[in-house]
């Protein structure tokens, strides 16, 4: 630590550093709350400001900014049920369920508490690793990445909501969707339909929008209870904050998981949160069933999300190598500031590493009181009528997806995944396993193929791989054992089949079959994992179909139904956005739905629509 104080004394005044920490934290929280401005885009926006602060204060500002951008990022998603990325989608499953029960303040409190603890644990791991970084790096390569991904996939059963066959079937579809694009090892174009736009695969934001945002917001709002059971008071936020500490072992485990995933190259926040969420569902008992507002379902992904930042800083600072695109931008910004990172820094300037670790801790600790004070006001959003919020949130979700990858292709992807999402929800099939397969399959595939090419089968006997797989098996066994005990994890009752189930099974099975046939001519590296997934998925679809046939005499539940007018207008908005700017299309959509469904006066609807359009227009240009 003496190196830290010597460095600080020589480089910048404590006042400058504290100011940079505070401004960076505030800017990060604002960026997190802004739809479409994630860590990457946010860093691009604030780098010019950092340059004016000088190297050390500028670096502190950027790290503080990036450390807390996820802390506030999940809040709008929890309140509106609108995740704009795969990272937020895990938190939203139980977070939005809490909001719908009127517990939004408690959910936000839990989000903040777990974010702070996760962020601090991630930073402590960073500081601990500093002296042994190079040695540690040798124990984490492609085989360990594959093992971690496999561990995450074992959570499918926990995410399947009582229908393992249904969960496996949709998870297989997720693996197939993830396979779309050029195979990195052979260059074989998988399901690209001859278009370059699909070479890099499917935009995750479009998948999340289609699977979660559209089906949740296109339902008729009358039967959905909204309100504020917990009153959105500071006390309720604090209660949620403190409640996280009663899950201290889950916090510790998922924080460590998040930090480890952060260090791994090619994995990212979305992988970290889904592994953590699956882990919580497998291991943490909950009185409230998962998916219906279990607080552990909020704590686990949020802790992992913030802990990932400390983990990801390790390879960036120690080796000068980014493990994610966000860290790539951070390193580029460091370069602009004239800050040199890399292996030599550990010898020549260890104080800088300590400063960055402490900045990570400081910004998380600073973010907590700020967010707690603002949380009651934010939680009151949840009391706004669903009919009024839904169109604005739907338009914001589409705009956020478009900001990550502008173009008609993204709109087409949102349309396709909306159809899949609407059908799966109407059929009462779980959607989270699809996202899990989509997020984890690329890391599993590249990890396995690289391991086989470099080390052969011996890769899977490495101590790290064996340890991770043993832990994964232990967790799975514990989950099975705990379910058989009374007072263990509260099981979610399987959803009754609806009239849409045969159509959903038919669609997924057809897609899997077509994929399998198409893969027959692909090279070995390009076909192995997706073909295996398609075969498993088809088997699971067969089981689902058999169960359906066996229970054919039973009455099937009618789905409460979507608001067809909203869906029609939404489709029109997507079409219009492909012809003109999304800001105009979103404003027109918001005006039409607010006037027709929320029954707002034309003037109020027009004002709200113009505000939304103007905001989207500005956000589109902010990134330029």
């Amino acid at each position: 630590m003496s190196a830290f104080f010597q460095f600080l004394a020589a480089s910048a005044s404590p006042g400058q550093v504290l100011l940079a920490l505070t401004v960076g934290t505030l800017a990060g929280l604002v960026a997190g709350l802004t739809p479409g401005v994630n860590g990457r885009v946010g860093l691009l926006l604030v780098t010019p400001l950092a340059v004016t602060m000088g190297p050390v204060a500028g670096a502190v500002f950027l790290v503080a900014f990036h450390s807390v951008v996820h802390t506030s990022g999940s809040v709008p998603a929890i309140l509106l049920g609108v995740p704009t990325s795969a990272t937020e989608a895990a938190t939203v499953i139980d977070g939005y369920a809490m909001t719908r029960k009127g517990e939004s303040a408690r959910a936000i409190g839990a989000t903040l508490g777990s974010s702070v603890v996760g962020g601090v644990i991630g930073a402590l791991l960073l500081l601990t690793l500093a002296p042994v970084a190079l040695g540690a790096a040798r124990y984490f390569g492609a085989p360990e990445t594959a093992a971690m991904s496999l561990m995450g996939l074992l959570a499918i059963s926990a995410l399947s909501g009582g229908s393992m066959a249904g969960g496996l079937m949709v998870a297989s579809l997720g693996v197939i969707i993830a396979a779309i694009g050029l195979d990195a090892f052979s260059g074989y174009p998988r399901f690209t339909f001859g278009t370059t736009a699909l070479w890099d695969g499917i935009n995750p934001a479009a998948v999340v929008s289609g699977l979660f945002v559209v089906p949740e917001l296109a339902v008729r709002f009358a039967p959905v209870p909204r309100g504020l059971k917990d009153g959105a008071s500071l006390g309720a936020v604090m209660a949620g904050f403190v409640e996280t500490l009663s899950h201290r072992w889950l916090l510790l485990r998922t924080s460590l998981l998040g930090a480890l995933v952060g260090m791994a190259p090619g994995l990212g926040a979305s992988v970290a949160v889904w592994i953590a969420y699956g882990h919580a569902r497998q291991t943490e008992p909950s009185v409230v069933p998962y998916g219906e507002g279990a607080i552990a379902g909020v704590i686990a992904p949020e802790a992992a999300n913030n802990a990932k930042e400390g983990g990801a800083l390790a390879p960036a600072l120690f080796f000068g190598v980014p493990s994610s695109s966000g860290m790539g931008i951070l390193l580029a910004a460091f370069s602009v500031l004239g800050v040199e990172v890399g292996p030599r820094m550990l010898d020549t300037n260890p104080g800088f590493v300590y400063l960055m670790g402490l900045t990570n801790i400081g910004s998380n600790l600073l973010a907590a009181p700020i967010c707690i004070l603002l949380a009651p006001a934010m939680a009151r959003f949840a009391s706004i009528r669903g009919e009024a919020v839904a169109p604005m949130a739907l338009a914001a979700g589409v705009a956020a997806s478009l900001m990550t990858a502008p173009g008609a292709e993204t709109l087409a992807m949102i349309a396709v995944f909306s159809v899949i999402g609407l059908l799966l929800k109407a059929a009462h099939l779980p959607r989270a396993p699809l996202l899990l397969g989509f997020i984890l399959a690329p890391a599993l595939e590249s990890g396995v193929v690289r391991s086989m090419m470099i080390q052969g089968w011996s890769a899977f006997t490495r101590p790290g791989v064996v340890s991770i797989l043993l832990i994964a098996l232990g967790v799975a066994a514990y989950a099975l054992w705990s379910r058989s005990r009374p007072r263990a994890v509260a099981p979610k009752a399987p959803d009754a089949p609806t009239r849409w189930l045969p159509a959903a099974i038919g669609l997924v099975a057809t897609l899997l079959l077509l994929a399998m046939l198409d893969l027959a001519k692909a090279p070995l590296t390009a076909r192995t994992l997706p073909s295996l997934a398609a075969a498993i998925g088809l088997g699971a679809a067969g089981v689902c179909a058999w169960r359906l046939w066996r229970g054919r005499g039973q009455a099937r539940k009618a789905f409460e139904g979507y608001d067809l007018l909203v869906l029609g207008l939404f489709g029109a908005m997507l079409f219009l956005a492909s012809l003109v700017d999304i800001a105009v299309a979103a404003a027109l959509f918001a005006f039409a739905t607010l006037a027709s469904r929320a029954k707002l006066s034309y003037r109020v609807a027009a004002a709200a629509a113009c505000g939304l359009g103007g905001l989207i227009w500005c956000l589109e240009r902010l990134g330029q």
Binding site: A137, T196, D200, P265, V336, G342, A606, G613, R621
Partner: protein, 338 residues
């Protein structure tokens, strides 16, 4: 009563009030890489200096999908009115020679303004590999694990060319993008890598890592002899009928570096005007200072020279260069290729 006209006017005024006013005739710079990548950084510096020098507002957008091919497609389809400039990577050249999809084979039709810097590409080995010089790879019993980029990236093409032209015993492992290549070397998974000198700096900083081969004839600047500044070029070890053609291709690729152009069909007067502007910004001391501070060594090439090089390579592509590259790509590990 709210009419459509009042609604449209309201929408417009709200947008105008909540954000900066619309500006006339902005220049749109289309960057063929993701935000934060080296090309993105230098392109944004260039954008700032265009505005500073000529007072023209600039809008920047990234289109890094399909390794920059989508950006090339968009540039080719853009209106040739002098208001769109593409900042592309010459990695597209290899794909264009093989006639892959993506519209990148219109590279020779784009009106190039010039290139900002050279792309020094080298083969780096780690200390753990035990390899001291390139000759150690010839006749080596155990293949050297050579980490390469995804199959549409320059790094992968050059890995295949190395394998095709020399007797080095290497096992090509593709699919590593960006920082993952460096991490694979640091963690010991990979033993060697081909890439740009700038991009591989973190790997080269590791104790014992060194350059053992230059993939083109450009000198390695700013490094000690211990780190391989005097490493031989591939010419010394290349053999077979495709050697001359493919070495020429790699040299051209390296000298083109980061290329900037206007859409095909841009009127000659606009092309001439923009070439002058590009040359003026490239020579501006303020731009050079900022680029150097961000780690870029500027070595500009005029637009006419870029057009001439690309026309030469692509016009003979079907019969000579493309065919030779095609043979290199068909060459698999361990097979007799030459």
């Amino acid at each position: 009563m709210l009419t459509r006209r009042t609604f449209a006017a309201g929408a417009l005024s709200a947008s105008a009030a909540s954000c900066a006013p619309a500006r006339s005739q902005p220049l749109h710079i289309l960057i063929g890489s993701t935000p934060g990548a080296a090309s993105d950084r230098i392109a944004r510096i260039l954008a700032r200096h265009i505005t500073k020098k000529f007072g023209q507002p600039v809008e920047v957008s990234n289109e890094g999908r399909a390794n920059g091919k989508m950006a090339a497609q968009r540039l080719v389809a853009a209106k040739p009115d002098g208001l769109t400039i593409g900042f592309l990577s010459t990695g597209l050249l290899y794909g264009a020679l093989l006639h892959d999809s993506g519209g990148a084979d219109s590279l020779d039709k784009i009106q190039w303004l010039g290139s900002l810097n050279y792309d020094r590409r080298v083969l780096i080995v780690t200390k753990a590999s035990g390899v001291e010089r390139f000759e150690d790879l010839i006749g080596r019993r155990k293949p050297l694990i050579l980490i390469c980029g995804a199959t549409s990236q320059s790094s992968y093409y050059e890995c295949r060319i190395l394998d095709h032209l020399t007797d080095a015993n290497v096992r090509i492992v593709p699919g590593f993008r960006g920082g993952t290549r460096n991490l694979a070397l640091i963690s010991g998974e990979g033993e060697a890598v081909i890439g740009t000198l700038d991009g591989l700096e973190p790997a080269l900083e590791q104790a014992g890592s060194k350059i053992i081969l230059r993939m083109n004839r450009l000198p390695v600047l700013g490094l000690s002899a211990e780190k391989g500044s005097q490493a031989p070029t591939i010419d010394r070890f290349a053999k077979g009928p495709d050697a001359e053609t493919l070495i020429d291709l790699m040299n051209a690729h390296a000298q083109l570096g980061r290329i900037v152009g206007l859409p095909p069909g841009t009127p000659p007067d606009l092309v001439a005007q923009w070439r002058e502007r590009f040359a003026a910004v490239s020579a501006d001391p303020a731009f050079i200072t900022e680029a150097n501070a961000a780690g870029f060594r500027l070595e500009p090439t005029p637009g006419a020279a870029v057009n001439a090089t690309l026309s030469r390579l692509l016009s003979t592509g079907v019969n000579e260069v493309g065919a030779a590259l095609g043979r290199a790509m068909a060459c698999q590990d361990g097979a007799t290729c030459a």
